[in-house]
Symmetry: C2
Subunit: 154 residues, 2 copies
């Protein structure tokens, strides 16, 4: 029986809840589908000494979004893997003065199918993700490009 969107959401929420810092950040899964994932966090738990969002929280939420999108498709295809972030580049473009979200999707040229096929056959696969903290205007507050590695669990 294929997993429903609700099954996958609960799976993700359980995974996130297992990381103490995500609870401290007040992380919430706002939306998730095969195209992208959206995580939300309140400013109050993630504020810095200047009253805007702490850069470490922005980078962490974007990293967790990239990780979660991959965890969701891996689990949804009946695989079990440990997923690690390997390398990331973060650009901080504007301060964030309100509650915020991180959106993650595969990087241009990347998609789920070849990644899952390689993971299933070789037990290891890489995927690059693009993440951002959107703002009401055109420019995001921050962007993250990251490479993740998945290793199937035995």
């Amino acid at each position: 029986m294929p997993m429903t969107a609700d099954d996958l959401l609960r799976h993700l929420e359980q995974h996130y809840a297992g990381i103490p810092l995500t609870r401290a950040m007040g992380l919430r899964v706002a939306a998730a589908d095969d195209a992208r994932i959206v995580l939300a966090a309140p400013l109050a738990a993630n504020v810095n000494d200047k009253g805007c969002a702490f850069g470490g929280s922005l980078a962490s939420l974007m990293t967790l979004a990239g990780w979660g999108w991959i965890e969701r498709i891996v689990h949804g295809h009946g695989l079990a893997a440990d997923i690690y972030v390997k390398d990331s580049r973060v650009r901080y473009l504007a301060p964030v003065w309100q509650d915020f979200e991180a959106v993650a999707r595969p990087a241009p040229g990347e998609s789920a199918e070849p990644f899952l096929a390689t993971l299933a056959s070789a037990g290891k696969a890489r995927l690059r993700m693009c993440c951002e903290i959107p703002l009401p205007g055109e420019r995001p507050a921050a962007t993250l490009e990251a490479e993740f590695v998945a290793l199937t669990r035995r």
Copy 2:
């Protein structure tokens, strides 16, 4: 009267304590001088779903170390500035299975004097920092290269 090392340590600790996520991480200033800063954090508060340190905690501690080294020299020279991380590159090289530290120092070719002189005269200055999470062996668990921008407060 020049500030003592203890004055500067207390100043830093107060700054860090003002960021809720640093309290959740259990951040502690282990050492700080004009050459480098060392921050420490326990694994338990920073663990991920796999039982090793959460990548977001490693990146956050390194970012906070880079930020703190700059805050310390700015304050030590009688200046007051808001210090922002602008851009960073993180490489995750090995999992961390114990309490960990982040060490930050100016990047090769960078030093405090020209940065402080520019900040004092122009009200804005940039500094690149190199940070790492050392492991007992030769290779660190993670490295971060980041550019910070300081803006004097009016």
